[in-house]
Amino acid sequence: MIRLRAFAIAAAVALSTASLAGCASGNSSGSSSSAEDGRGPITFASGKDFTKEMGTLLDKWNAAHPAEKVTLLELAASPDDQRTAFVQNFQAKSSAYDVLWSDVVWTSEFASHGWLEELDPTVFASSDIMPAAVKSATYDGKTWGAPFMTNAGLLFYRSDLVKTPPTTWADLFKSCEGRPSGMDCYAGQFAQYEGLTVNAAEAINDAGGAFLAADGKTVTVDTPEARAGLSVLADAFKNGMINKEAITYKEEESRRAFVEGRLMYLRNWPYVYTSASATDSAIKGKFGIAPLPGVSGPGVSSLGGIDLVVSKFSRYKATAKDFLAFMQSEETQKFVVSAMNQASVRTALYDDPDLIKVSPYLPELKKSLLNANPRPVTPNYNAVSLAIQKNVYPALQGSVTVDQAITQMAADLANAVG
């Protein structure tokens, strides 16, 4: 009995010390408000660094700023897990993350919740930066993120089978008619996930449709144009131009199909270029790149990429902003292209002959990027994207008609933004 009571007391003491410690840490973060907008060591929370080059970049900064060192914090590889970690830290008003790596579709959401520090557009949204990337970092007329990497979809085609790449859907499907047997015509990313929103948005935007009006609140998808756009993909599934297997494709599954020589045309991000030209690729030297096809001439790509944002709860915002400027600088951006093999946000770099030598897809990517469309900019992006995916997916499966899908999508979108 005595022992038990002792245990209970110990437990109570442990609990109360824990809460005391809580007070202490609360005080310290409170008193540090004098360091607001100050300078000091900061933490950069990013997705897991698949380029393995981020360390080199940060070393450069740290050597120049010994008193304002940046520590890299790599989060889980899955974007959903990254976003969850960010949101939890924001909700707890934690100062653990100073600079965050924000997928272009998250920036407006984070900004709308008041979690981000506003940035100076003359510094971070200058005319040297890709306009579509700047748009993705803008919410409510203000700048919330510094575009760091960008991305746009490209059409990969088999240059040994197709002389000049088609610019319209009609030409593309027509050129497939005499394709070698056992080869599929076209594929993109059609599993129910964010990639489906990207692909559907490209088809629908190109046909003149739009999910939401510029205000981000009015649903505008219930139009003949949007129906026509979605019909392109749905019909291609129906008549076998897209293999029904592609309903399970994400980026990698579709890349494999192309690199293994099972596909004439592939919609994917520029990263496919590297593996398609690798020595073990079945199509090495037999493929080319072009802008995406459209209804009448080149299509509209959805914009991907990463913005760097500064947390409202950061203690060293001045340092954080300087770091953003460093990451957006021409020197760093060159490194992004040459060493990290990612697409820069600086328009001028796409014409740099040295860089084109390393990444021959840059001129085509530039065309695609200049014509790219940010996905709907809305604080409810997650719900909006889900409303799109949920309705596009069965339309591609053929279990509902395009008409039904668009009507239901309009209703779901109204729920999502309302």
Binding site: L4, A8, H113, Q192, I247, N382, Y393, N415
Partner: protein, 313 residues
Amino acid sequence: MTSPALLPTRDRPRRTPASRAGEKLHPVNEGRLAFWLIIPSILLLTLVIGYPVVQGIWRSFFADSIDGPLEFVGFGNYAQALWGRYSKEFWAAFNVTWFFTITTVVLETLIGMAMALFMNRAFRGRGLMRASVLVPWAIPTAVAAVMWRWAFDPRGIVNHVLGTTITWTGMEWSSKVAIIVADTWKTAPFVALLILAGLQIIPDEVYEAAAMDGAGPWKRFWHITLPMVRPSLLVAVLFRMLDALRMYDLPAIFTNGANDTTTLSILVVRASLGNLQPGYGGALSTITFAVIFLAAFLFVRLLGANVVPKERS
């Protein structure tokens, strides 16, 4: 630590309904002792689960606006799920959650029972057998789910072995089959382990006596084994049911909720983490809790799964 004196199994008493008189502790002291023995658990659960749950329930009565003060909406969030604008997806999720729960729990119980009966027999290599049954349960859930997703890829090993070309995660029936197969494989060992523990305390004499009376294997199973493992079996089924009603990982990784595989937990995650609707998310998790509570309550009442027998007088 002093090693406890092990009783030889032969001397283990039979589980006849014991006479439960003769406790010498004074009832008041007994109650107080019980209080001190249970309070650490209660404190822990209150801190870790009680506090967040209460906060979630409280938040479920307020609207989800991004800025501005909290607006009290009463049961508004609940109404949206049950008959309001989200009711279609809610009831679809409700149905599919029950579908998965019933199919997987039935399969896991049958397979788990078979596994336990086999593992309980004496044969060479029994230890290895027990270890191999443990393997599926021991593999981290995320790794197992990734393995199954690749296995069910249109070009994966499942189609290769079966000689089929099914797009497993691209159609409704096959998505559901894939999820049920992966879940059953992963958790049947859990059921098996719990039943095995129950089997291990059945004294051999009971079987020997029954065999001498000429009872066949089926008869012995129905009249001896089943009644005696019943407590363990019911605990296993009860906890499997609680878990299955909260199923999230497999449908999220296989189909992301497509093909009518959106479970209640997927809805909760979407609302709370995805769409940042703490109010509606809180309402959904409270409803999920109520559904599970009701199911568990009925289960315990109808099947007498309560592990504590009637109070001794």
